[in-house]
């Protein structure tokens, strides 16, 4: 009995210990480096905060601002990304977990799922945009207007109408957005992997995407995770410096050599002491690994399967300057090439012994990244300022199965919420089912351009209007990289993220639609001309009413009689215009010509004087 009791007690204490361990806030920092096929390097920073216990409002690691945001707006899931540049799906890959979760459209993209009653979702969204705009120094508050966001239904499964999506393609992204993002990290960029973020180096890259994703399950949602999980990622595509390469680096066959210090201009001087783990990964994708294996087979003449993956960090093709702590190989089916992941822990490095990984190529290698089943591109057609069309063309990337299917309808499901002027944007969601043999498909949507009210134009109306990227996702194609990791409790967030099965997703280009812009001074012109016409009409009507025809004629005769006619022809013409016959007046000696002249001169002087005085006092 005593024995049983003791066992029970041990179990109990074990449970207590584990729950205590579970209730701890954690922070992980990781960096993944991956050579790309076009001589560039993908670097992907991943920072994860987990907050298992949301009942207390005091936290030692989790950022206060994000916690308050989740509490105040009852956000269940939120993703905010700031991106500069466009992900090159052709060369940098479109069929791996990294690209489908981290390739984002240019500018700002925000979506959020709220845990509030349906009628409060819009209000929550508006408040959230304002808060985020203050938090990240960006004009996210423009997403507040109901014409700027939409409520897509098929993007997320469990949203049930509480999802809101908005994008600002024109938003410029720079350091002022990065600094508040870094503020959410406990070490900011003072220590740890974030210390690599040298602003000139990271903004010099070809692609820059800074992302914040948070999920919270506190409001009674069912999910595998509890509490709040905040993922912050920064994805960069950088070109290694030319100098570090050998003399061959100029030629196109050699991949450039690179090191962390040459990429970022900085080194890691130790981990962020608050992080549970601080890891650097180097990922070689399947395509590269298979080409490498081929060359090894040629050179050393042994079978590909015999190559010991553990020692592959230094091989005939390339060499890593530091031996990795761990080499992980992907678990794959037969006909797919496994990727290899080298894991380095930054824990041991110090300020005096910085961590600087170097990657040296020994032989030229060329490979290609896996592409999405269809590559989508979107463009504008049509001419003129009245009508236009948006076309989306889907091109097969050569991945074909042998069995062509014939289908009656390509469009399986479609939901269109037409745009309402000044109220809501037009959203079209379609589920297409295309046979595998299809080579290309195109969708066109015609539209009419309308006139906006004069005060609805943006300040730079002549630049045109941006249409955010379309999202193309392939629900039947999922991607993940399964790594052979032991069931260790310390699971890296990066690896678990890579192992998560995700739909392939890609974004199309942003469109710029030129819209006829009116002459913005037009209202005043119209007012002025209308008023002038009215005034003319009114004045002449009044004059006509009080005109004394007979008296005028008599007057004229008198004047004509008085005046010596110097220009008889002119007078004749005038008389003809008036419809009178002009008779030559009896010539009279002119007496008052000099008098008239002085009168005119005096008048002119007075008018000039008044004008000068006006100028002097009011000009």
């Amino acid at each position: 009995m005593a024995l049983i009791l003791r066992i029970l007690l041990i179990l109990l204490t074990l449970c207590l210990a584990t729950t205590h361990e579970l209730n701890k806030e954690e922070f992980h920092e990781e960096l993944l480096l991956k050579p790309l096929s076009d001589r560039k390097i993908l670097s992907h920073f991943h920072f994860r905060h987990t907050l298992p216990d949301v009942t207390h409002s005091h936290h030692s690691l989790f950022p206060k601002a994000v916690f308050q945001l989740v509490q105040k707006f009852r956000v269940r899931e939120l993703e905010l990304s700031f991106t500069q540049g466009r992900w090159n799906y052709e060369r940098w890959g479109g069929y791996d977990p990294l690209s489908s979760s981290n390739a984002k459209p240019p500018g700002v993209e925000l979506w959020a799922i709220f845990d509030v009653p349906q009628h409060e979702v819009d209000a929550s969204w508006k408040n959230l945009t304002h808060t985020l705009s203050g938090l990240f120094c960006a004009s996210i508050n423009f997403l507040e207007s109901s014409t700027e966001y939409s409520a897509p239904e098929w993007g997320s499964q469990q949203s049930s109408g509480k999802l809101r999506y908005g994008a600002l393609p024109r938003e410029a992204v720079c350091t002022e957005n990065l600094t508040p993002w870094l503020k959410l990290l406990p070490c900011r960029d003072k220590a740890g992997l974030a210390a690599l973020m040298d602003r000139p180096s990271i903004y010099r890259g070809y692609y820059h995407s800074q992302r914040l994703h948070l999920t919270s399950s506190e409001f009674g949602a069912v999910g595998s995770t509890t509490g709040i999980v905040l993922d912050q990622t920064l994805t960069l595509v950088l070109q290694p410096d030319k100098e570090t390469g050998s003399m061959y680096s100029g030629s196109s066959i050699y991949q450039p050599n690179w090191s962390m210090s040459s990429l970022f201009g900085r080194e890691v001087g130790g981990k962020c002491v608050l992080a549970e783990s601080s890891t650097v990964f180097v990922l070689l994708e399947g395509g590269l690994v298979s080409t490498l294996k081929n060359t090894w087979r040629e050179k050393e003449g042994h079978e590909a399967d015999n190559i010991v993956v553990e020692n592959s960090w230094s091989n005939p093709n390339f060499e890593l300057s530091i031996p990795p702590n761990k080499v992980i190989e992907e678990v794959t089916t037969l006909h797919k090439n496994p990727s290899i992941l080298y894991e380095y822990s930054v824990e041991d490095s110090e300020a005096s012994k910085p961590f600087d990984l170097e990657f040296r190529w020994k032989n030229p290698v060329a490979w290609s990244s896996p592409k999405a089943p269809l590559s989508a591109s979107r463009f504008l057609t049509g001419s003129g300022n009245e009508r236009g069309a948006i076309a989306i063309s889907l091109e097969s990337s050569g991945r074909k199965d042998e069995k062509p299917q014939s289908l009656g309808d390509f469009v399986e499901k479609m939901r269109v919420s037409p745009s309402e002027d000044k109220v809501s944007p037009g959203v079209m969601e379609m589920i297409l089912r295309l046979p595998c043999a299809v080579n290309s498909a195109a969708l066109t949507i015609d539209f009419d351009k309308g006139f906006l009210h004069i005060d609805e134009y943006p300040p730079d109306a002549n630049q045109g209007f941006d249409i955010p990227s379309a999202i193309v996702s392939f629900p039947d194609f999922q991607t993940k990289i399964d790594f052979l990791v032991g069931n260790s409790s310390k699971k890296s967030p990066m690896i678990s993220k890579l192992q998560e099965s995700r739909n392939i997703q890609s974004y199309t280009e942003v469109l710029l639609v030129p819209l006829t812009t009116p002459d913005f001074s037009m209202p005043y012109n119209v007012i002025t001309i209308t008023c002038t016409v009215f005034a003319l009409y009114f004045g002449s009507l009044l004059n006509a009413l009080r005109r004394r025809v007979a008296e005028e004629e008599r007057h004229q005769r008198e004047i004509a009689a008085k005046k010596t006619v110097r220009f008889p022809l002119l007078f004749k013409l005038l008389a003809m215009l008036r419809g009178q016959t002009w008779e030559q007046p009896p010539s009279q000696s002119s007496t008052s010509t000099s008098l008239i002249n002085t009168k005119i001169v005096i008048k002119v002087i007075i008018v000039a004087g008044i004008a000068a005085g006006w100028q002097y006092y009011y000009g």
Partner: protein
């Protein structure tokens, strides 16, 4: 026809010689055209009101005169609360035939008048006191009339307990006094009471947690005693124990929406040396929650906390060999707060106009540990902290041993409970200072020293009374100035659109201000604090209403530019036409008169 006077000329050959067509005419001039033009002008003038009505902008009626009178009257007549004081003399051997309670009362009043400033300061009692006196000696009990009528004190009750025993323990005596007088207090409003007990001991003056004070000792001189009593009344109960007497009502740290956010921050200057965490949750429950409840009538207080890392201070500290510590002096304080690295941040949870008070615990890094604050007189500060009015406060907390955590494994230390309690007690004192109160437990003065009992709630009853008086006064001042500027602004911009909402807010704000003043004059300080806060919030809401921005969109220039192209030429035409016709009519009429004169 008027136009053809010469056609009629031939009809009167008799005067034809005298008739000069240039200056005379035989017919009356016609009025048809004159009538026509004048009709047009009049119809235009009649249209003007309609036109003005059509271009009018909506302005909700705002009681400007009331707003101005409120702001003026707040400036001119500072808010003064009526205060009631009560003195109890116990075991004094007065000659009851000579000294009456009334004369004692008068002399106390006299002394208090001398001490308090001549002019009415807002938020004080002004000269609006009433003093009642009770004398107990042996079995006798004498009271002034007002004390009897309002049953301020039950004679002999104070002696029911063992007085000598009680007097040894201040806390106990304070509670005892509260019990003794507790029953009578509810009906009679707030009465500040001093109990003077004659005993054979040194003279001590103690101010309790409630609205009592007592003076015990060898009090032989009645005049001296009365002076002391008056001092307790004026300096402590009325002026809140603030030394220089001036009242910094402008520095009341309450946001415009009546909210305060207390933001507690633990800063680890360099987490590579050591990491400290704190048990904030417990502190909040045990220490901060009672204070929030106590201050509830003054402001709506919320609390938040965070721990930040990599936050070095920006001032320099030097090594002092004697003290074996790093020293920073008061001169460096303006540079201590490092606004670049300390991202204390405003709070998302709080509204835009809330006041945020930052409380910072600074844990120095290993190469500046221990870090001590040197006062200007060369001594080391006991609290090791400082306040910055309207911003908050900073306390430097040094770890017990200033050696780096060894190895790369960083353990999260907790600040020990006793240390944390000490830190929060200092914070409490700093909060009191931020509110303008004394933080020590002694009140020194040129003439006297009073012991002030402190309470676990942070603020004693009489301090809260003082604060709520101050707060009411400050709120009403703010409300008055805000409404005054709103009224000036609105009147200076005649083309500003004013929504109904603003008008309503102004109306309610005025009503609340009136209520607050009414309550204040009856001495109900809690209710007046609440309604004064409401008045201020509404006034600020009206002033900062988003629709007030619309002024720039429909300016007079705009209106003029739109309508002038029509009205300017047309009105020129009409006025000129009328003018010409009128002149012509006058001329022709003169001609006609000339002819008539000739004719007759």
């Amino acid at each position: 026809m008027a136009e053809l006077p010469e056609a009629l000329n031939q009809e009167h050959p008799s005067n034809s010689d005298l008739f000069d067509p240039k200056i005379m005419r035989k017919t009356k001039p016609g009025v048809k055209r004159l009538f026509l033009t004048i009709t047009v002008l009049l119809s235009f003038l009649a249209g003007v009101p309609f036109f003005l009505k059509s271009i009018e902008i909506y302005r909700s009626p705002i009681p400007f005169s009331e707003m101005d009178t409120l702001s003026n009257s707040i400036d001119l007549n500072p808010l003064v609360f009526p205060c009631r004081f009560h003195v109890v003399f116990v075991d004094f051997d007065f000659d009851f035939r000579e000294v009456s309670a009334d004369t004692l009362g008068f002399s106390v009043l006299e002394n208090m008048r001398k001490l308090s400033s001549s002019e009415n300061v807002c938020g004080t009692c002004g000269n609006n006191f009433s003093v009642s006196v009770t004398m107990e000696s042996g079995g006798d009990c004498k009271e002034t009339g007002n004390a009897v009528s309002s049953r301020l004190w039950k004679c002999e009750r104070v002696k029911e307990g063992n007085l000598d025993e009680m007097l040894k323990d201040d806390e106990r005596f304070d509670d005892y006094l509260n019990d003794v007088s507790g029953g009578s207090e509810e009906g009679s409003g707030k009465v500040y009471r001093v109990v003077v007990v004659r005993r054979d001991a040194d003279i001590r003056a103690v101010v309790g947690k409630n609205r009592h004070a007592w003076i015990v000792g060898r009090l032989s001189q009645v005049d001296e005693t009365i002076k002391m009593v008056a001092e307790v009344f004026v300096k402590i109960f009325v002026n809140g124990g603030i030394k220089d007497g001036s009242i910094h009502s402008e520095f009341m740290p309450v946001g415009a929406d009546g909210r305060i956010v207390l933001s507690f921050n633990l800063l680890n200057a360099d987490p590579r040396d050591w990491i400290y965490d704190w048990n904030f949750q417990e502190m909040e429950e045990s220490l901060l929650a009672p204070i929030i409840r106590t201050l509830a009538p003054l402001a709506n207080i919320s609390i938040e906390s965070q721990v930040l890392y990599h936050t070095p201070k920006s001032s320099f500290a030097y090594w002092d060999k004697e003290k074996e510590s790093y020293i920073f002096s008061t001169k460096d304080l303006p540079f201590f707060v490092n606004s670049n690295e300390w991202h204390l941040d405003t709070s998302i949870a709080a509204g835009g106009r809330s006041k945020i008070l930052q409380f910072v615990v600074y844990v120095p890094s290993a190469n500046e540990c221990p870090l001590l604050l040197q006062l200007p007189n060369g001594e080391i500060s006991m609290t090791n902290g400082f306040i910055s009015p309207m911003w908050g406060s900073v306390i430097v907390w040094n770890p017990s041993r200033c050696t780096r955590d060894s190895g790369s494994f960083h353990h999260r230390n907790k600040i020990p409970q006793q240390d944390l309690e000490k830190v929060f007690e200092v914070f409490l004192g700093q909060l009191r200072q931020l509110f303008g109160l004394n933080s020590g437990n002694l009140y020194h003065d040129a003439s006297s020293t009073f012991t002030l009992l402190s309470t676990g709630k942070g603020f004693t009853e009489w301090e809260l009374d003082f604060l709520s008086r101050q707060h009411t006064c400050y709120n009403l001042l703010q409300c008055g100035t805000t409404l005054g500027s709103l009224s000036r602004l609105v009147q200076s911009l005649p083309r500003m659109i004013i929504k109904d909402e603003i008008g309503k807010q102004v109306k309610f704000s005025l009503e609340a201000a009136k209520l607050a003043r009414g309550n204040a004059s009856h001495g109900i300080s809690d209710a007046s604090a609440v309604s004064s806060r409401e008045a201020r919030i509404l006034a600020e809401d009206a002033f900062f209403h988003p629709s007030m921005m619309s002024v720039s969109y429909y300016s007079f220039e705009h209106c003029f530019a739109v309508y002038s192209p029509f009205f300017l030429p047309v009105s020129m035409h009409i006025i000129l036409a009328v003018f010409r016709e009128f002149r012509r009519y006058k001329q022709q009429n003169a001609k006609h008169r000339a002819w008539r004169a000739l004719d007759s």
